[in-house]
Symmetry: C2
Subunit: 209 residues, 2 copies
């Protein structure tokens, strides 16, 4: 296997953390997004959607999307289980993973990509250029901030996001929290449960890769 | 169990189709989105994110997000399998389900909600009002259209989206295709493989509910 990565970006970080939590070592191919390597014909042959991460299997099959890569590895290496252990637990992991994606990670990305000069014509991932929409800088921030109270409430009685067990929802959570802090969203200041949880999960070796 | 639904909306339709494909009958509670019933305190106690679908279990536990509901039912009722059957198949179902969501369904929703007068202050789902951003009407359409060639190519050699077996990716696909056609995106005209696939999957009884 080969893992197409870009170290500073949040999406490949999610899969990289998942790989580390499974105790796996997969050779990394670093894709230089700042040099637009992901928009090259060579990379489009790997992923026509021009995004990292991507996992290339030994027979050349490519799996894209961080959660799809993670699910593949969960099936091959079920221990420790990171997608839940029974029907309701699996549903809750799916629900919270998606809630954090939709209500926090995507809005933070929206704010960041519509603000940063580096993304002036690249406000969305994918093969097509889209120019920035200035209104989305503030909208993205507000959307993300609106979700933090619910996230904090969920952690009031839970050590990890869905209960006693660390899961992919925690991986999405810590990657999202760090990304949100890059655009100075006060994730930790006003949310004591998120802060307590963040201090624990961000100290895991997988969070430091 | 109780299924909180809204018949005309695409997200609950995805879960409704899934339930029908499993041969299940779950009592439906229709939520009147046009009358803002989902923004009421009563519904916020069910889902603080104010979205349908939601599945309420007999003990009062609520599962939100159509894919989380589907995954719960897949675990309880594994036949027919709709999330894939082995590691690679499950990864491909996850990948294509997400690709269709991110590159087509979300952009179609973006275009629709920023255009329709009914959503003037409700351009996004969730508990917070966001006014429409007119630039997103055209942007959403362009994003969705940019994905159709890849979708069509995937169906050139596959009966269903990920191969010989109907899966949740096909459910997401048919719900997305119908939604796209509501805003007059020519999903079928220029894409013969999508057309052939659409004619087959939209004829299933589950697609007519």
């Amino acid at each position: 296997m080969k893992f197409y990565d870009c170290n500073p970006a949040p999406s490949p970080r999610r899969a990289r953390m998942f790989i580390a939590e499974k105790g796996l070592e997969i050779p990394i191919v670093e894709v230089d997004l700042m040099a637009n390597e992901h928009l090259s014909d060579k990379f489009k042959a790997i992923n026509p959607q021009c995004t990292v991460p991507a996992l290339e299997l030994d027979d050349g099959t490519v799996i894209c999307e961080s959660v799809a890569i993670s699910r593949y590895l969960e099936e091959l290496y079920p221990d420790p289980p990171l997608f839940g252990v029974d029907a309701l637990d699996k549903a809750m992991v799916e629900m919270w993973n998606r809630r954090i994606e939709h209500y926090c990670l995507a809005p933070v990305a929206e704010s960041f990509r519509n603000f940063s000069k580096a993304f002036r014509t690249r406000s969305l991932t994918g093969p097509v250029d889209f120019k920035q929409v200035p209104e989305l800088v503030e909208r993205g921030r507000k959307r993300a901030e609106a979700f933090l109270a619910d996230w904090d409430a969920q952690l009031a009685d839970n050590r990890y996001i869905t209960g006693d067990r660390f899961t992919i929802a925690d991986i999405t959570g810590v990657c999202t929290a760090d990304f949100a802090m890059r655009i100075k969203i006060p994730v930790l200041e006003d949310y004591p449960n998120i802060k307590r949880w963040y201090e624990e999960v961000s100290a895991r070796p997988s969070a430091k890769l």
